[in-house]
């Protein structure tokens, strides 16, 4: 009785060991995948940071797109507190 119980437990230990190894290997792959994605994300953030650098945006808006801040007389202020006549 006891002997068979020991045998069963022994087999379970072996099986669980194996399973844990497999799961750990999976964890490793997933982790390296996460690392790769993190790396890519970090690089994309940096790239975005470089492209959206204010100095660059400003220069492009001014030179290439010929944009400028409108003069005071061309800005209309909407006053929500004043009723329409």
């Amino acid at each position: 009785m006891l002997a068979s119980a020991v045998l069963v437990v022994a087999m379970l230990v072996v099986a669980l060991r194996h399973e844990s190894r497999l799961l750990f290997a999976q964890l490793q792959t997933l982790r390296s995948e996460r690392d790769a994605l993190n790396t890519e994300w970090g690089q994309l953030l940096l790239e975005e940071g470089t492209w959206s650098e204010h100095r660059r945006i400003e220069q492009m808006a001014r030179t290439r797109l010929d944009m400028h801040i409108p003069g005071r007389d061309r800005i209309i202020v909407l006053d929500g507190t004043r009723p329409a006549p």
Partner: protein
């Protein structure tokens, strides 16, 4: 007979052999039991030591973000090349090729390895580019491996260099917020066990012994857009005026959050190999300056508080000079008889001195202490200094007079900005914070709302047509502020031709949102007044910041450009 004897002999022999076998078996069993039970632990450790190794498992440092989630500092993984010196030294033939890849001479490499030949780990080169890492691994040199580390990048570069600070090669904060909040940002490395092959190379990770903990992200109070505006305008002002240095800070007057903090000269935290350390200094918190005329509003606040003065009380400043204890206090012109409000508008030193001297000196001291001078702002920025203000018991009359117009007292830029926030928010001292606040923090009342309000009106006059700070005006908004031009204190006394130009102010007038202080240190041209070099920076940055933060204009506008909400649809 013979056969029987023979058969008896055979049996006896068989028994001997069997007995020997049993003894052998018993010995084997005993040995097995000894190995399995008695010395199992020892053997397991020894076995693992021969085919596994424990290595460091790094994780990334938290990001530094601006208040809208835009990154100001990011960690990206890079690899560092390391070696197990005894293993690598066994195979000399790989060394020249390895040295070439790592940009070392073979001699240097061997020496590095030999020096640490009794150790398990030595860095060969840190933070290598990914393609170089691939090449190194392709070499398959024994005992050479990569370690995942993290390098810090600063997308905003020099724009936020001083305030964000930087880390060293070990990912530890060295300056700025990186240092102040290092414990929060820092990752805790874990350890993992790896299997190694015959050459000692790690081939497989078998278990994590301790999981690494990644650093936490830090959401700062900075606004990258406002920060950029302040950076751009300060840089151009410093260049245009040929100044030695400059600083500017923008505060939210309600919460005490720092929206922008910039210094000149600047530095690029991504590339600091050839930089001198004095460019790292965050002058806005580490350097002390005399505030000059920007301090006058607090002298006047003290006067109003005493009840002896009102906004329209008249003070005779004729003839533009005033003798105190053998020293002469001067105004730039003879302003004649001025009201208290005009003392601020014209920035009269004589007027401020006469007010200060007519009242007990403890009053002025108490006012200056209450609005936060001579104490740390609590920003937690490294190297922040408290400033200097002598106790009133040591003041002589001339000192009492000069302090009233900002000489003989030293402040940081951040302190002055906080003091102006008190005037702007109706008399409450906000705690300075570099982290985003989701609600208005608890503030201490240090000045009656009515007095703060009166000073605000006077400061609006000071940027008005007849004031000294007209260049600080912002289209469509009513702003308030005060200029200051200070003779620089040098080891040999006050310099005759070196100045510090100040502007401190806030906007919009009706419901102030932002306070800003600009300092230009030693403008070298013939334009050196605060109203000439510092006030324009305020105007430009404020105009942009108020627009970016969607603050409604409060200045009267030409009638045709204001329409009510319902009508707006038709206009478009």
């Amino acid at each position: 007979m013979t056969s029987r004897r023979t058969s008896g002999t055979v049996r006896r022999r068989a028994n001997v052999v069997l007995g020997a076998l049993y003894i052998g078996l018993a010995l084997l069993a005993a040995r097995a039991a000894y190995l399995q039970v008695v010395s199992a632990d020892y053997l397991q450790i020894q076995g693992q030591a021969r085919h596994t190794r424990v290595v460091k498992d790094n994780s990334h440092r938290g990001m530094v973000l601006d208040r809208n989630g835009v990154p100001l500092a990011i960690s990206t993984p890079v690899d560092s090349v390391w070696a197990h010196p005894p293993t690598t030294l066994q195979e000399q033939k790989y060394i020249p090729a390895l040295a070439r890849l790592l940009e070392m001479t073979p001699r240097e490499l061997s020496q590095t390895l030999k020096r640490s030949s009794d150790r398990e780990f030595v860095y060969l080169k840190r933070h290598v580019p990914p393609n170089l890492a691939t090449h190194v691994m392709a070499l398959k040199a024994p005992g050479v491996a990569l370690l995942r580390e993290y390098r810090r990048y600063y997308p905003a570069g020099p724009v936020a260099g001083h305030v964000v600070g930087f880390t060293n090669v070990d990912d530890l904060g060295q300056e700025g917020l990186e240092l102040a909040y290092d414990a929060w940002l820092r990752a805790i490395p874990g350890t993992k066990r790896v299997l190694k092959d015959l050459q000692g190379n790690a081939v497989e990770v078998v278990e994590s012994i301790r999981l690494p903990v990644a650093g936490r992200d830090l959401v700062t109070s900075l606004d990258r857009r406002v920060q950029y505006l302040a950076y751009r305008e300060l840089k151009s002002a410093v260049q245009k005026s040929g100044a030695r240095a400059g600083s500017a800070v923008v505060l939210d007057v309600q919460t005490g959050e720092v929206l922008a903090l910039v210094n000149e000269p600047d530095f690029n935290p991504n590339n600091r190999a050839n930089l001198r350390s004095d460019t790292f200094r965050d002058r806005a918190v580490t350097d002390l300056y005399e505030p000059g005329s920007t301090l006058k509003p607090f002298t006047v606040a003290m006067a109003l508080e005493s009840g002896k003065y009102a906004t329209d009380t008249l003070i005779d400043t004729t003839p533009g000079t005033f003798q105190v204890g053998g020293k002469t206090i001067r105004d730039t012109h003879n302003y004649g008889v001025l009201s208290v409000a005009h003392v601020i508008e014209k920035s009269s030193n004589v007027g401020a001195s006469k007010i200060a001297l007519s009242l007990p000196r403890e009053r002025l001291w108490s006012m200056l202490r209450r609005v936060g001078f001579a104490e740390s702002t609590g920003s937690r920025l490294p190297g922040e200094v408290a400033g200097l203000l002598n106790p009133p018991s040591t003041w002589v009359p001339i000192e009492q007079a000069t302090i009233s117009y900002g000489y003989g007292v030293s402040v940081t830029l951040l302190q002055l900005a906080r003091a102006y926030a008190v005037l702007a928010n109706g008399g409450e001292l906000p705690p300075i914070n570099l982290l985003r606040q989701d609600q208005v923090p608890e503030r201490t009342r240090v000045m009656a709302p009515g007095i703060a309000h009166k000073i605000r009106r006077m400061l609006e006059l000071a940027v008005g047509t007849d004031g000294t700070g007209t260049a600080a005006k912002v289209p469509d908004y009513r702003v308030a502020g005060k200029t200051g031009t200070v003779h620089k204190l040098t080891p040999s006394g006050y310099s005759a031709d070196e100045y510090v130009a100040w502007f401190a102010g806030f906007a919009p007038m009706e419901h102030p949102r932002l306070a800003m202080v600009v300092l230009i240190d030693h403008p070298s041209g013939d334009r050196y007044f605060g109203g000439q070099v510092a006030a324009p920076v305020f105007s430009q940055v404020m105009a942009g910041a108020l627009r970016l933060l969607d603050v409604a204009p409060d200045a009267p506008r030409p009638a045709t450009t204001v329409v009510a909400a319902k009508e707006a649809k038709d206009v478009r």
